[in-house]
Symmetry: C3
Subunit: 154 residues, 3 copies
C-alpha cells in the first residue's frame, strides 16, 4: 500500500471507491503533470449524509466534516487516473463551493475541512492555493462541493 494511503488509514479514515460521475464526464483527467478532478460532492457509499444550505439546514461544523469527505473523494478521483497517490508532488489548487444561506459568511471555515485534511494526509505536499465561495445551490442539494488540481510526478 502506498505511504499516502497508509497515512489515510492511520487517521482512522479509508480511501473510498471513486464516486461515479452524475453525468457525462470523468472523475478526474490527467494532462501533462497535472490531474484535474471533477467537483466532488460529499458522497458516502453513494449517498449524501446531509442536504441543504449551510447556515440553514446544515450547520457549519457538519459542513466542515463534509468538506473533508469531498477531499477524500477527490483523492480517490486522483488515484483513479494515477493508480498511486504517492505520485502526488503537491496539491496546487482547491476550489470550494459552499451552498450557503444568504447570511452565512463562514465559507473559509467550512472549506478548512478539506484543506486541513489534505495537510494531515499529505504534509507539505498538501499545502495549496484556494478559493472558497458561497453559492446558491449545489447538485442534488449537496451542502458543499470541492475540486482540486494536483501536480504529479512523471
Amino acid at each position: 500500500m502506498s505511504r499516502v494511503e497508509d497515512k489515510i488509514e492511520s487517521l482512522g479514515l479509508k480511501l473510498p471507491d471513486v464516486v461515479p460521475p452524475l453525468a457525462a464526464y470523468q472523475p478526474a483527467v490527467r494532462s501533462g503533470n497535472y490531474v484535474f478532478t471533477s467537483g466532488q460532492l460529499p458522497m458516502v457509499d453513494g449517498a449524501l449524509p446531509a442536504t441543504g444550505k449551510v447556515g440553514a439546514e446544515v450547520g457549519a461544523e457538519q459542513a466542515k466534516e463534509l468538506a473533508g469527505v469531498c477531499a477524500l473523494n477527490a483523492l480517490a478521483a486522483v488515484k483513479s487516473v494515477t493508480g498511486d497517490l504517492d505520485k502526488i508532488v503537491r496539491v496546487v489548487k482547491v476550489v470550494g463551493f459552499v451552498a450557503s444561506a444568504p447570511d452565512f459568511t463562514g465559507q473559509p471555515g467550512v472549506i478548512n475541512g478539506a484543506s486541513e485534511l489534505l495537510g494531515e494526509i499529505l504534509g507539505d505536499k498538501g499545502v495549496h492555493a484556494r478559493s472558497a465561495v458561497g453559492v446558491a445551490v449545489l447538485p442534488v442539494d449537496a451542502p458543499v462541493e470541492v475540486e482540486i488540481q494536483v501536480e504529479i510526478a512523471d
Copy 2:
C-alpha cells in the same frame, strides 16, 4: 475545413463567430500547451435566447440546450487563438455555472448539454473533468455560463 468543424456541421450545427467579450478581457488565452477560455454565455448572433434563473423563468431542458450553445461558443473561442480546432488534444476541464432558483438542484443535467456536445464533436478528446454549481445570478441575466480548458498540440 478541419475534421472537428466537419463533425460540427455533420451534427447540424455551425461553429459561431467568436463572441466578443463584454469587458476588458479576451475570449481565450493560450499559455504553453493549454487554451483557457473565458466564461461563455449562450449568445446566439449577439443575443441571449433566454434569460433568468433555471428552475424559475427557464426550464431545465432549455437550459441544457443553452449549455450546448455555450460549449460551441467556447470552441469558437479556442479557434480564435489556435486557428484550427484539430489542434485539440483533449478537453481537460469544464466548469459550468447555472443561475439557479434556490430549490433547483439539477445542475449536472444542465451542464450535460455542454459535456455531451463536446463528446459528440470531439469523441474521446472531449471527455473531461467537470464542476457544476448553482450560482445566484449571471452576467446579463444569462441562465448558464461555461468555461473550458483545453490541451492542444504544439
Copy 3:
C-alpha cells in the same frame, strides 16, 4: 524596484503586503511555470472597506473599485512566491466572484475593476481569459473575490 512595481506606484497605487489567508492554505502556489493565487478579498490593511451584496448594500461602482483592490492583493500574493513581479510572462486567467443581489446582472462591469487594473499595470501581459459570476455570499461578507493564474518565466 521592479518595473511592474514602478508602474503600480506611477498609477498612485501601492503594492500591499500579502493578505494572510483566513484559513489553512497559502496566498499563492507556484507549480511549474504557473502561479495560482488563492481567492483574494478586497482587504485593505486587514479590513474590508465594505461588506454586503452588490446591487443591494454595495453599489456597482464601489464594487468595481474593490475588484481592483482584489487584483492588487493578487499581485502581492504572486510576489510572495516569485519575489519579483517582473517574472510575470502573462496573466492567463482571472475568475471573479461577485456577491450579488438576485437581480444584479452587472458582474462583468464589476470585475472590469480587476481586469482593467491588470491591463494598466502589466500592459499586454495583463490581458487574460476571464469568468465572472454572481454568487450568493462570500467569506466574511465580502462583496467581491478574485483569483488569478499567472504564467511566469523560469
